[in-house]
Amino acid sequence: MDEIVNTLRKQFGHHSFRPGQREVIDDVLAGRDVLAMLPTGSGKSLCYQLPAYVRPGRVLIVSPLVSLMEDQVEQLRRRGEKRVIAFHSLLDEEEKGQALASLADFRFIYASPEMLQSASFLAALRRAPVSLFVVDEAHCISQWGYDFRPDFLKLGDVRRALGNPPCLALTATAPPQVRDDIIRTLGMREARRHIYSVDRPNIALKVEHCRSPEEKAERIIEYAQRLKGPGIIYFSSRQGAEEIARRLERSGAGRVAYYHAGMDGEQRLLVQQQFLHGQLDLVCCTSAFGMGINKENVRFVLHFHMPAQLEAYVQEIGRAGRDGAPSLAVLFYADGDGAMAQAVAEAELPHPHELREWFRRLPEGAGLDRFRVWVETSRFTDIQKRLLSYVLEREQSLVFGAPTLLGERVAAAVEERRRWKRKKVREMEGWVHELSCRRSRLVHAFGEELAVRPDRCCDRCGLSLGDYVGRESRQTAVFVRDWREELWNLFFGGRPPHEAAK
C-alpha cells in the first residue's frame, strides 16, 4: 500500500479516493501548479489537506467567506488537527498579533483575501514560508465568474510576494473563459488542469411550470410533503423562505426551519447543526445556506425562485446526493421569474443615476486613498462597493486629472456587467425552457459534452417521481421533557433518578 493511500486511511478515515482527488494530489505533491475543477461535494479540500500530511510544510488557503473558513477549520480540528488557524476580519488585533508571532507552528493557515493585504501578515508569511498556496472557490478571481470578488484579483501579486510557492486553484464551477482567467491572474506556470464534469449523474433534474406564485407555493408544499427527505428549498428572498417555512410547518411536512443572512449568527449555526444532526427534515433558505455544509444524505433540492445563473444553480443543487444515492432537483418556474431573477441580479449594480450623482459630489482633486474612503462611506451596498473599488483600482491612472473620463469608465464597466448578467439570466431561462435533455444542456454551458446519460436523467428524458417519494412518516411534534429532566439529560445523559426529577 502506498504512502498516500495510507495517509488517506489513517488521517481521513477513507478507504478510496473520489474521482479526481488522487490525480490532483499526485500533481500537488510533484510541486506543480494545478487548476482543479471538481464537482461540488467531491471533497475538494482533501486535495490540499492530504499532501500536508505527506510532505512537511505549511499550506496557505485563501477563502472568500468567513463561514466557509470556520467550517473547514472546525472539520480539521474535529479530525484531531491542532495546527490550524484562520485569519479574517473578525479576529481582533491582540489575537492576530499572537497568532502571527507563532505562525511557523501551523500546518494549515486559512486567510481571507483582505488579510493578505496586510503588510505584517505578509512579512510573517515570509518568515514562515508556505509550501503550497491554495485558492479555494477560485472562480471568484474572474469577473466572468459566478460570485466575482475583486479582492481575489490581487492574489497574483500576493503569490509573487511570497516567492511563487506552488499553487493549487480549486473550483466547482468555472466555464473555460474563467479557467483561463484564474491561471493568468495567479501567474500559474505550465499549470496542470484537472477538469471534471460539473455533471452529477445521481441528481435527476426537473422543472415544474406554474401559472402563479401561489400555485408554485402549493406545488412546492406538495412535493416537500411527499418526497423522501431531508431536503433543501432555495428562495431568492428572505421573506419567501420564512413564509413557506411557516406554511410547510402548518401543513405537517415535518420539522422545518428557515435560514438566511438576516438571522443572527447563533440562530444560523443552530439551524445548520440541527439539519446536520437530522433534527430537521427541511430547510427553507436563501443562497446563504449550504456553503461548507457537508451533509451526505440530502435527498432533494427545490428552487422556489430561479437563480440568476446556471453556475449558482449547479452549486445549489450540488448539495443533494453527496452520498451518491439517487436524489432530485426540481426548479419551479412561473412567467415573470426571469424578470425577477434579473432584478435580483441587477440589484448588485449601482443604478446609473445614483452613480452619476455620486461622481458629481466627489471632492475635487481627490487622490486614490480619498476615493477609497469615499466608496467605503457611500450608501452603496457592499457588493456595489466591491465593484466600484475594483473599477477604480483598474482605472486608477485616471483618478488624477481626468475625473470625467473616470466617471464614464466606471459607468461603462457597470453597464458591461449589467449586459453580462442579463446574458446569464437568459442562459438560465434557456435551460428552463429547454425541450430536449436538460443534463446535456447543462454540461454544454460549461463547455462539455455529456458522455453518459444516466437512467434517471431529467423530465425531458422521462422521469418517474415515484422513485423519490418517501414512505417514512415524519415527526411533526417533538417530544420535550420537563426542563429538569432536560438539564439532567444534558449533563449526565438518560433520565434522572426519581428523586432528582422532583
Binding site: 463561514s67 470556520e70 472546525e74 474535529r78 484562520a86 473578525l90 479576529l91 481582533d92 489575537e95 410547518e249 426551519a257 443572527d264 449568527g265 447563533e266 440562530q267 449555526l269 443552530l270 439551524v271 447543526q273 440541527q274 446536520l276 444532526h277 433534527q279 417533538v478 420535550v480 420537563d482 426542563w483 429538569r484 432536560e486 438539564l487 439532567w488 439529560n489 444534558l490 449533563f491 449526565f492 445523559g493
Partner: protein
C-alpha cells in the same frame, strides 16, 4: 387582533414615560443606543431592565404596537408620536404584570450577555458530549470563546466534579425563575442528544411569540449572571472572567459611595433604610467588581486565609460546606466576600 408582547413592552414604557417621551425614545431604549439621553432616560424612568434588550427592534413594530394600544383605547396620543396610557391601559397593564421579566437587567448585561451565554452553552455542550463519549462540532464559532472554554476546561481538570457543580447550580438557579423561563433556557442549550432550539422553534412549541420567548430567555440568563456576580453561584461566577458588566448596579453604587465616606454597614443600612442583608449583597457585588475595594475591614485576614484554604482543599465553592469545615467560625457573608474577591482577582489576571 390579539395583543402582542410588543404592545405589552411598549405599554410598560409608556407608563414609565408618563407621556414625556416619544416612540423614538422607546426605540432607542430597546435597541440600546449609547447616547447620554437614552442612558439618562433609562435611569430616570426606571427602564434599565429593557436597555438594549431587544436589539433588532424596528420603528414600525413599535408603531404597530402603539396603533393597537390606541385602537383599544389603552393609550392615547399626547403629542407628536408621544402616547400615554389611559386609565383602562393602566388597568390592562397591571393585570399583565406577570409578563414582566423581573430578573432582566439589560442596562447591566446587554454587552456581556452574549459572551457569557456562549461560554455557558459551549461548556454545557462540551461536558455533555465528553460525558457521552461523543465527538461534536462546537455550537459557537467565536474564536475567543472557543479558546476561553478550552483553557477553562483544561484548568479545571476533574470533569465529573465540574459537571455536578454546574448541574446543581443551574438546577437551583433555574428553579428560582418561572417554569416557563426555565424551560426556554434549557431548550436553548445544546446537549449530546439535541442541538439547541432557536427562539422561534421554542415559540412554536410553546405556542407563544418569539419575542416573548426571547425575553424569557434573557430573564433567566440575567438572573443567572446576577447570582453569579453576587457570589451565590461560584462555578458560574467563573464564567464572568474578563467580562466587565456596566460596573455596579445603581443601588450598590450608592452603597459604595457611602463606604468611601467611611460609613459602616449598619450606618448605611440606617441611612438608606435598607436591610442589612441588602447592604451585604452590595458589598459582595462591589468586592467582585471593584478591584480597588479591600475586604480587609470586613473579614479578618486569618479568617480570609482560612476560607481560601478551605475552598481550595475541599475543591468546592459551596458556602455551607466551607462554613462547616471551619466549625462555623465564619459567617456566610464573610465567605461570600472572600470568594467574590477571589473571582474578581481571577477576572483581572
Amino acid at each position: 387582533m390579539q395583543h402582542s408582547y410588543a404592545s405589552f413592552l411598549l405599554a410598560w414604557c409608556l407608563r414609565q414615560f408618563r407621556g414625556e417621551r416619544t416612540l423614538a425614545a422607546a426605540y432607542h431604549l430597546f435597541s440600546g443606543k449609547k447616547s447620554a439621553q437614552t442612558l439618562q432616560d433609562s435611569k430616570w424612568f426606571q427602564l434599565e431592565p429593557f436597555f438594549g434588550a431587544w436589539k433588532n427592534v424596528t420603528m414600525s413594530s413599535l408603531e404597530a404596537a402603539a396603533g393597537w394600544l390606541a385602537e383599544q383605547r389603552l393609550a392615547m396620543v399626547v403629542g407628536d408620536r408621544a402616547y400615554r396610557l389611559t386609565e383602562a391601559g393602566e388597568g390592562w397593564l397591571s393585570e399583565r404584570e406577570a409578563l414582566f421579566p423581573r430578573h432582566m437587567n439589560g442596562w447591566r448585561y446587554h454587552e456581556v450577555e452574549l459572551p457569557f451565554w456562549q461560554r455557558l452553552s459551549l461548556i454545557g455542550q462540551t461536558l455533555s458530549n465528553l460525558n457521552a463519549g461523543r465527538r461534536f462540532a462546537p455550537i459557537c464559532r467565536d474564536e475567543r470563546t472557543l479558546r476561553w472554554v478550552k483553557r477553562y476546561l483544561m484548568d479545571k481538570g476533574g470533569r465529573a466534579a465540574l459537571t455536578r457543580e454546574l448541574y446543581e447550580e443551574l438546577l437551583r438557579l433555574l428553579a428560582a425563575v418561572s417554569e416557563e423561563a426555565a424551560l426556554v433556557f434549557t431548550l436553548r442549550l445544546t446537549s449530546a442528544d439535541r442541538i439547541g432550539w432557536t427562539a422561534e422553534q421554542i415559540a412554536a412549541h410553546l405556542q407563544k411569540e418569539a419575542l416573548y420567548v426571547e425575553f424569557l430567555f434573557r430573564d433567566a440568563l440575567h438572573y443567572i449572571m446576577a447570582e453569579a456576580e453576587a457570589g451565590r453561584s461560584p462555578a458560574l461566577a467563573e464564567l464572568m472572567d474578563g467580562l466587565a458588566p456596566v460596573a455596579l448596579t445603581q443601588s450598590a453604587q450608592k452603597t459604595y459611595e457611602w463606604l468611601q465616606k467611611g460609613k459602616t454597614i449598619e450606618e448605611i443600612a440606617a441611612i438608606r433604610r435598607l436591610k442589612r442583608s441588602t447592604i451585604e449583597d452590595h458589598l459582595v457585588e462591589i468586592a467582585a467588581n471593584v478591584p480597588a475595594f479591600s475586604i480587609a475591614p470586613f473579614v479578618a485576614a486569618e479568617k480570609a486565609a482560612a476560607v481560601q484554604a478551605a475552598a481550595k482543599t475541599l475543591g468546592t465553592r459551596k458556602l455551607k460546606q466551607i462554613r462547616d469545615a471551619l466549625g462555623g467560625a465564619v459567617s456566610y457573608f464573610e465567605i461570600r466576600l472572600v470568594l467574590a474577591k477571589e473571582v474578581g482577582r481571577w477576572m483581572k489576571s
